[in-house]
């Protein structure tokens, strides 16, 4: 793929029109007010037929899980890994709306991605067919808002190692305790995937926190003992509510343990989750960079100082040239991801980490340079690069910090 096809451009045009009609006029409320993003996102999913598409996709996934369960019931051993399928234009159809949303409101992508990608994705890839039927469709359509919680006040980059949240076996289920923080959609979520460690004094592997099995549970809003905080104040991504979760002796029945077995650790297969999360960041970065460049070009042409448009100063030209280099690089990475999807292939974890690292850094650099190019206006909310700049920063933090990506790339290459 060397350029967007006519069909891609048509998708872009349609989603752009939607963003301009439905989101841009409400940006102030989303950014500086308390308007949650979910109604607009639901409208977007319905308008573009994404609800129907999600239903079809889920149907296929469910059929595979059922076939696997039936094979096991017959005493056969199903293949360890499920083959990827060539996805045609599916990757492009996901990425183009992300790019267009990110030009104005990257927070919306975060809120949507966590609900539809992370939460529903985790349930579909790890749940039993009963669990998928119970929770996944409502999440994919955003009829229910989803959250996915691993981070804790004392455990971030070292999410599994320092995790304190615990699950204790009791009659008929488990009792969960712990605190989670920085949880996207936390304040509004209806369905929450919470990751905990099994506290099992009788375990043959020992019950030291570092040795405990990692399990995940699906909780509903309003479950006794579960408190969802108000949105935390933060630097950017204001349209994506982020909050804390408190679990105090939360009793859950056995059928809320994802996979309905203790023998599979949450850590197995978690790389797939990381990989898909990291590819989404490339599309977000492209939207941010394209918009920063577009705004910067307009400003450099029209802002006059010392009797000429500032675009005639070489130091301003340098900024624009660097932005274009970043735009081309990120776009090429996005094209590659679309191509891989078409071929039924994916990125390796090292590649996905390298992409995320580059795209996040490039988006941040471009957005900072855009603010600089706009001068005082760049610092003012009215000129929009200010918001994109604050929003871009989080790309270097969530989904694994730059530092963690860096060491993962190197370690996975060194391991051969």
């Amino acid at each position: 793929m060397i350029e967007w096809s006519e069909t891609h451009l048509a998708i872009r045009e349609m989603t752009r029109r939607f963003v301009e009609a439905e989101i841009v006029p409400k940006l102030d409320d989303l950014e500086h007010g308390d308007l949650p993003p979910y109604d607009i996102l639901r409208k977007m999913l319905a308008t573009f037929g994404m609800r129907d598409m999600a239903q079809v996709r889920l149907g296929k996934a469910l059929a595979k899980v059922k076939a696997r369960e039936e094979a096991i019931a017959r005493g056969e051993t199903p293949p360890a890994t499920v083959e990827r399928e060539a996805s045609g234009e599916e990757v492009a159809m996901q990425m183009i709306p992300i790019i267009e949303l990110s030009r104005h409101c990257p927070g919306m992508v975060t809120a949507l991605g966590v609900s539809v990608g992370l939460t529903a994705g985790t349930i579909t890839s790890r749940g039993t067919s009963r669990q998928i039927e119970r929770w996944a469709l409502d999440l994919l359509t955003l009829d229910k808002v989803g959250a996915w919680a691993i981070t804790e006040p004392g455990s971030g980059s070292d999410a599994f190692g320092s995790m304190k949240a615990s699950a204790r076996r009791v009659d008929g289920g488990y009792v969960l305790n712990g605190n989670k923080t920085f949880i996207t959609n936390g304040p509004y979520a209806d369905t929450l995937v919470v990751i905990c460690k099994l506290d099992d004094p009788g375990s043959p592997r020992g019950n030291e926190p570092k040795d405990r099995q990692v399990l995940s549970f699906v909780l509903d809003r309003g479950t006794k003992g579960l408190t969802q905080s108000k949105p935390l104040r933060k630097m950017g991504m204001h349209s994506s509510p982020t909050g804390e979760l408190f679990l105090e002796d939360v009793f859950v029945e056995k059928d809320r343990l994802l996979g309905e077995t203790e023998t599979v650790s949450y850590r197995t297969g978690v790389k797939d989750t990381f990989t898909s999360e990291r590819t989404g960041v490339a599309a977000m970065a492209l939207g941010i960079v394209e918009e920063c460049l577009r705004l910067s070009l307009e400003y450099a042409r029209t802002r006059v100082q010392f009797g000429k448009p500032i675009g005639e100063f070489q130091l301003i030209q340098l900024k624009i040239a660097k932005m274009e280099v970043a735009r081309m690089n990120i776009q090429n990475l996005v094209f590659r991801m679309i191509e891989l999807g078409r071929a039924g292939k994916g990125l390796s974890l090292a590649e996905a980490s390298a992409c995320k690292l580059y795209c996040a850094q490039a988006a941040m650099e471009v957005a900072l340079e855009a603010v600089q190019l706009f001068g005082g206006n760049g610092y003012m909310a009215e000129y929009r690069v200010e918001q994109l700049c604050r929003d871009a920063k989080v790309l270097q933090i969530y989904g694994g910090t730059d530092e963690i990506q860096t060491s993962q790339i190197a370690r996975s290459l060194l391991a051969g």
């Binding site: 451009l9 349609m14 939607f18 308008t47 994404m50 129907d52 598409m53 159809m93």
Partner: protein
């Protein structure tokens, strides 16, 4: 009902400041312009789609919408987008804007109408680039069909006639047309209760504005038929009778002045502006 909708792509009216005219003044520089469907044509397409469906279940089409444009290959982007939005077929007549005038376009459309035999031709009241407001009227004349211009409402009646509401100074003028007929539409045609096919319940309210194409429909539009014709095939030897003599940009606005008090303002209004 079968409807022919004539579409034209225009330079994005929101980026009108990008329009450049070379020193020779003999043309508009089109390189680097962004193209969009003429907004009134977008409304015409929406009206045609509403007339060929039951508003409650727009996925099941009851009728046919054929879109046609005269323009270069790049215009197929706009045609594909119309197909994605719900049109059934598209026709492009190979041409460049410079080779056309309103009369020639009307002649070409007459030939297409003769072939397609639609019940209605629905089009925008004018294209926002030239603002000529000619083609619909000229086409109705050439076809000798009844015509309603600047439609704000269209209602299909059980008997097959259409009621067209036109907003005129001081009120609404309603025409009853017997198809085949030509209708040109104004912007209010996309309001929630502006257009009703005979299948749509009068209590139904549409979403305001033109509809969006769903992503699967955009994919499927690739496979819908798009026919290409030459200009010679459809103009029957007619040639443009209007030609462009000269283009110039509006003069740059002069800077205003600041007055120090009301007395000076009044004095200047009286002596310089001569409005008092």
């Amino acid at each position: 009902m079968k409807i022919l909708v004539a579409l034209k792509r225009v330079a994005d009216p929101d980026n009108a400041n990008k329009v450049k005219i070379p020193a020779s003044g003999d043309k508009v520089e089109t390189a680097g312009l962004e193209w969009k469907l003429n907004p009134f044509d977008d409304y015409a397409l929406e009206a045609a789609l509403r007339l060929t469906e039951n508003g409650k279940n727009p996925k099941a089409r009851v009728g046919e919408v054929v879109v046609v444009t005269l323009g270069p290959k790049e215009c197929e982007t706009q045609l594909r987008s119309a197909l994605a939005t719900g049109a059934d077929r598209a026709i492009r007549v190979e041409a460049t804007d410079e080779a056309l005038d309103g009369r020639l376009v009307a002649h070409a459309l007459r030939a297409i109408v003769a072939e397609e035999k639609p019940d209605l031709v629905v089009m925008g009241k004018q294209a926002v680039d030239g603002d000529n407001n000619q083609v619909g009227q000229a086409l109705a004349e050439l076809l000798d069909w009844p015509m309603a211009t600047f439609a704000a409402t269209i209602e299909e009646e059980a008997a097959g006639s259409v009621l067209v509401g036109r907003e005129v100074d001081g009120g609404v003028c309603t025409l009853r047309l017997k198809p085949p007929a030509v209708i040109t539409v104004d912007l209010r045609i996309v309001a929630p209760a502006s257009v009703y096919s005979k299948h749509t319940d009068k209590a139904h309210k549409y979403a305001d504005g033109v509809r969006f194409a769903a992503l699967p429909a955009i994919m499927a539009a690739k496979k819908k038929p798009l026919a290409v014709k030459t200009l010679a095939e459809v103009t029957g030897g007619a040639t443009p009778t209007a030609s462009y003599a000269k283009f110039e940009l509006p003069p740059a606005r002069k800077a205003g002045i600041k007055v120090k008090d009301v007395a000076e303002l009044v004095q200047r209004l009286a002596t310089e502006a001569k409005v008092l």
